[in-house]
C-alpha cells in the first residue's frame, strides 16, 4: 500500500488515486457475502487511520477547505470511480441475494463514501478512531439489517 515510500520522485495525486482504486478493485472483485464486505470495511478503517498509508494521504489531501484548481476534477473523478467500484460490488451481492436490495447500490455507495470522508475528518479532529468506525457502521448495518429481516443468506 506504500508503493511510493522508497521512490525518488514524489507521487502525484493521480498516482495515489490509481493505487487506491487498484486496491479497492482487487479487494472487492471477489467479495461474495456480507462477511467479505465487513472485512473490507475493517481493512479500510485500518488503512485510513495509518498516517503513512496511501489511503490516508489521499483523504488528508482532500479534506481541506479548498482543493487546488488542478486537483478538484481528478479528485471528483477518483471519488466517482471509487463509488462505482463499491456500487458494482453491492449490486452484484444484491443480485446474489446476500445483501439488502431495498436501497439502490448507488445510494449505498454514496452513503459509504460519505461515511468514509466524514468519519476520517471526525477521527482526525477528535483523535479517536471510533469516530470512523461508528461512521461506517451505519451504512453497513443497513445492508445487514435488511438482509436479516428478509431472511436471505
Amino acid at each position: 500500500m506504500d508503493h511510493h515510500a522508497g521512490s525518488r520522485q514524489e507521487p502525484t495525486p493521480h498516482d495515489l488515486y490509481g493505487v487506491v482504486l487498484h486496491h479497492e478493485h482487487r479487494l472487492l472483485r471477489d467479495a461474495a457475502g456480507v462477511e467479505d464486505l465487513l472485512r473490507w470495511r475493517d481493512r479500510l478503517v485500518a488503512e485510513l487511520t495509518r498516517a503513512e498509508s496511501t489511503y490516508a494521504r489521499v483523504m488528508s489531501s482532500a479534506s481541506g477547505t479548498v482543493m487546488p484548481a488542478d486537483g478538484a476534477l481528478p479528485y471528483a473523478v477518483f471519488l466517482d470511480r471509487w463509488a462505482r467500484i463499491v456500487g458494482e460490488t453491492i449490486h452484484r451481492l444484491q443480485r446474489l441475494g446476500v445483501v439488502a436490495s431495498q436501497q439502490t447500490p448507488e445510494d449505498l455507495a454514496t452513503a459509504i463514501l460519505a461515511a468514509v470522508q466524514g468519519g476520517v475528518l471526525l477521527a482526525r479532529v477528535t483523535d479517536d478512531v471510533r469516530a470512523l468506525q461508528n461512521a461506517l457502521r451505519l451504512p453497513f448495518e443497513q445492508l445487514v439489517l435488511y438482509r436479516s429481516e428478509h431472511g436471505s443468506d
Binding site: D107, T110, L138
Partner: protein, 209 residues
C-alpha cells in the same frame, strides 16, 4: 479557549475596539472558508476588513491566535443555528426538516465551501493542537444536539428504547460532514442529500411504528 491572562486585553477594549476586532474576525472567517486557512494571509485579512496592520496586531499576536478567534466565532454561529434547529426536534419528520434546511442551504451555493466548522477542521486539525481541541469540542456539542433529538424520540416512544443514541448521532454527524465534502467535490448538493437520506432511512428502521 482563553484563560484569564488572555481576557485582560479584552476588558480594556473600547466599544469601537470591540467592533474593529469583530470586523477582523468576521473578514478572516469569510476568507478562510473560501480560500482556506493556509492561503489566507494577515495582509488579506487587513485588506478585507478595512483595518490597518497595527490594528490587527493590536488584537491578535499572530495568525494562530486569529484562527482560534475564527473557530470561536464560526463555532458560535453554527452551534446556535443547530441549537435552534435541533433543540426541539422529537420526531423523524423533525430530523428530516433539519436535513432539508441544511441541504437546501448548501444547494444555494452549489455545494461550494462545505461546512464552516468541517472546513476549518480539515485545514488545521493536523498541525494546530489548540485549534484541533477547540474544533473537537464543537463537534461533540453538535453530536450531543443530534443525540438529544434522538433521545426525545425515544422518550416519546417513537424510537426503540435499546438504540444507542450517542453512536447514532456520531454516525449521522459523520454522514453530514462526509456529505458536505462529497457535495463540495461534485459542485452539487445532491450527494449530501442522498447520504443524509440513507442515514435517516436507517433511523426509520429503528422506529417502533
Amino acid at each position: 479557549m482563553s484563560g484569564p491572562a488572555d481576557d485582560e486585553p479584552q476588558r480594556r477594549l473600547t466599544a469601537r475596539g470591540l467592533k474593529t476586532k469583530a470586523r477582523i474576525v468576521s473578514a478572516a472567517a469569510d476568507l478562510m472558508q473560501v480560500k482556506g486557512v493556509d492561503a489566507t494571509t494577515m495582509d488579506d485579512v487587513r485588506a478585507a476588513s478595512g483595518t490597518s496592520k497595527s490594528q490587527i496586531y493590536q488584537h491578535f499576536r499572530d495568525k494562530n491566535e486569529l484562527v482560534m478567534a475564527v473557530i470561536e466565532f464560526v463555532g458560535d454561529i453554527v452551534i446556535r443555528r443547530e441549537t435552534d434547529s435541533l433543540g426541539h426536534v422529537s420526531t423523524l419528520n423533525g430530523l428530516r426538516r433539519w436535513r432539508d434546511a441544511l441541504v437546501q442551504a448548501n444547494d444555494l451555493r452549489h455545494g461550494a465551501y462545505g461546512c464552516a466548522i468541517g472546513s476549518l477542521a480539515g485545514d488545521v486539525a493536523d498541525h494546530d493542537e489548540a485549534a484541533r481541541a477547540a474544533l473537537a469540542q464543537l463537534f461533540r456539542t453538535w453530536s450531543r444536539l443530534i443525540s438529544g433529538a434522538l433521545t426525545r424520540m425515544q422518550e416519546r416512544g417513537s424510537l426503540k428504547p435499546d438504540v444507542d443514541t450517542d453512536y447514532l448521532a456520531d454516525g449521522l454527524l459523520a454522514s453530514l460532514q462526509g456529505g458536505y465534502l462529497l457535495a463540495q467535490t461534485a459542485g452539487d448538493a445532491g450527494p449530501m442529500g442522498r447520504a443524509l437520506d440513507m442515514s435517516l432511512n436507517y433511523i426509520e428502521t429503528l422506529s417502533t411504528s
